[in-house]
Subunit: 339 residues, 2 copies
Amino acid sequence: MKGAVLYGPNDIRVEDLDDPRMIEPTDAILRLAASCICGSDLWPYRGLQPIDGPTHMGHEYCGIVEEVGSAVKSIKPGQFVVGSFATSDNTCPHCRYGYQSACVHREFMLRAQAPFLRVPHADGTLVPTPGGTPSPGLVPSLLAASDVLGTGWFAADAANVNPGGTVVVVGDGAVGLLGVLSAKQMGAGRIIAMSRHEKRQKLAREFGATDIVTERGDEGVARIRELTKGIGADSVLECVGTQESMMQAIHATRPGGYVSFVGVPHGVDLDGQRLFFTHVHLHGGPAPVRRFLPRLIDLILNGTIDPGKVFDLALPLDQVAEGYRAMDERRAIKTLLQV
Amino acid sequence: MKGAVLYGPNDIRVEDLDDPRMIEPTDAILRLAASCICGSDLWPYRGLQPIDGPTHMGHEYCGIVEEVGSAVKSIKPGQFVVGSFATSDNTCPHCRYGYQSACVHREFMLRAQAPFLRVPHADGTLVPTPGGTPSPGLVPSLLAASDVLGTGWFAADAANVNPGGTVVVVGDGAVGLLGVLSAKQMGAGRIIAMSRHEKRQKLAREFGATDIVTERGDEGVARIRELTKGIGADSVLECVGTQESMMQAIHATRPGGYVSFVGVPHGVDLDGQRLFFTHVHLHGGPAPVRRFLPRLIDLILNGTIDPGKVFDLALPLDQVAEGYRAMDERRAIKTLLQV
């Protein structure tokens, strides 16, 4: 099969790879309906995260089960399934507490920018769509559930979004935009999206943003203070992962408010004493997407949400390099790969 | 009147000071029933926190109202009152959210190691004891409510202590010990106190600790993992404020668990990426003691709790220097000052 391999900064290639094979009896092999490029793929693509030689890329996926191992009980060949970017047995203590992305058997998926994929711990990782194979029009949204929607949802959940609350979303990537959608679903009264990009602002509004703030850093914080009568927001979703975005999020929050952070922080350093006097709640980490998947799949299948709108570019796998470039240059919000 | 003044490292003196006078119409003047020395007073006493010239000390207090300003409505002369170390109007948005220690009118109290004290924003800061002046035997416990008990309670509250949960308390100072007491009141199933000091271990057990861990740092974390079957604790109360204690707290917590930090951090620096992968909830800051005071006063008056036990040394104000020394050398847990 063909698959995407990163060789170094700005050097992503499609190569002939071996088809994945069963390794453990708890594995499943999927034929993917589609794959995509994640904002987090841009860190190594940009050379901002070291790679150890040529690296298979892709961790978002949905598709048809081709084969399952002898120990797999609930997942069957022929089912359409969505899985998380982090595998989980869904039975260990961390999983039972709802932190499947901290499962004792966690592996971060790789190799999903390809037509076939081996998924470890199939029973605990994959969720079949009720009612059989969904219509092709739903594939982008189901694919989004695998990471960006699940992560945006976790961002809203971890920031304690409540009915009527004032929410700020820092970051207008696909995760931030789906954080807006998630906050809307959780009943937020006001959703302020921080974005200076017209197309993304438009989608943010479509997903439920009530206000757009274009300022950043201290100016952005000042604007949020202004919009919240000097109080600060109840819930702030940090969906970028830089020092600036993190401090922007923390300082936009009212004392006793909640900050979530869901993108892997790069170069972020928090001064304990400064954090102390802000009085914020802070929670984040790799999103436990598996916790939310059944609900997200339902919301997609019954037409309540359409997170697939974050895909504003679709390319055949062969053109994966253009897909990365378009996202790197912010021409595309998110690239879907036809595999 | 006499009052304690810090001149520099290890140099605390009792001096003749002017009696406090009303400044604002929202002020009250109290005649203190007692005062005390706080673990946080040791930072400047040890020279680990700079002072800007001779500094009046003391921020914990309870006593009889002598005089109130013309704008004070609910507090009356003759009442016995307990106040927080942080003043609050108790009406601003932050106060209404329960973060009175982030009140827009917050001042951190000083000058309480003295017989008389001016308290700004008397109506929002002070809580009268129901049933008039309490018996002298209750004064130490009511005095504790002013800061160390209120802070220990906040530590347990911010660490989301729940019935049946497993709690770790890092720090065996008065706040840590009262964190144990608070966790017990909130129904914790297991309370692990980290202490290597026999007298404090004994008091921790009296307050409700079920286990004592004497190891620190990585060894301490390993021991907590052992005691929790490798999972980590649900709630960890960080009651010290150093880098070591903070990392110990974070790494003793299970993914999705809660860490509170209630002592002003000194030299604490959190790596964003490391924090991210721990999956903990983090919350702290100066304790909003005012939120908890009515309940804490009730629990003391009805004999449910006896937090005054943390005072294992009582000295006349004249001997304040010995009081500081005893705490600095860990001969005393907490010194009560007879003023």
